[in-house]
Amino acid sequence: MLVYGVAVLAACFIAGQIIGEILGRMLHIDANVGGVGFGMLLLILVNQWMHKRKWFTAEMDSGVNFWNKMYIPVIVAMSSIQNVKAAFSSGLIAIIAGIIPTIICFLMIPAISRINRTKQQGTAGT
């Protein structure tokens, strides 16, 4: 049944949200800490575990894949409900404070991924 796959996805999503909420409460901040990230980790693990036992049928796969493919349209819909007008009318400081730090972070990405790569080569050598 296709819906079983969707249900597994939904279960991972809800479980992840619960973990994120609890973590947020524990840290005393009014935000969900990594709920989506935990949900994704859960889905990867559950998916692997169920596939190994052949519990995850091809039809269930296609149930999850539907949502996977809906991801881009949802992002397009999300873009179209942003408050773009207000962002532009908040003035120069908002534009500068949004753009300069982002460029700095872009530029730092190669350096940090290099740290990761040399570390792995180091451990692989020993």
Partner: protein, 253 residues
Amino acid sequence: MNLILDLCIKNGFIVALLVTGLIVFLSSLLSDKLLKRKIPGTAIAIFMGLALAYLAGSITGGSKGIADIVGLSGFTILGGAMFRDFTIVSTAMGASFVEVKKSGLAGVLSLFMGVILAFTAGAIIAITMGYTDVKSITTIGAGACTFIVGPVTGGAIGASSEVITISIAAGVFKSILVTIGTPLVAKSIGLDNPQTAMVYGGMMGTTSGVAAGLAATDPKLVPYGAMTATFYTGLGCLLCPSILYFLVSLFFD
């Protein structure tokens, strides 16, 4: 006319599906015919969404983009946080746990670097633009993280609503820039493998920007970037109103 409008309002979500389909279709047509696939259709579709949101905001004066247009309110459901997060989680189906484990440490490092770097740069900009009080500097710095970290921080430390609005706007600009900029800089920053995608998600942090930017670059990388990015806002909400606020108050006040 009224009959059609009533029908659209009653079936808002379905209308949103139809209109989104049209936007994506027109964008891929534009990408194929006019731009010879130099810019991916997805990137154009997302950009068209942002442009329509700007246009709708100018006409209606509302804050929810095209969802403020009568008959298109269903967009708040399709484009809302619930569907965004649900579809992002579903992308993890194609991700491999081995890859996640391989770059876990770099991902965590990039999260801290990303929040602290964006905050510091944002705070310095606030100072050079003439802000001298600790609360405003901290809130604008937090806004440079994401458009959620800004208002959460501003609310927690009691910043003025004008400054909170600026912090939200800064965060929105960041997410727009990440969306549009990612496919353009992907090659030059080596963004073509899961490890770099995880570092990238942690450094940029804005979940919507990262998800949209990676979708336009290489959909296979989406789960890796999105996974780290979703921890960013939480970490920002944790660090900005506490340690980083404290550090700023050491220099000003």
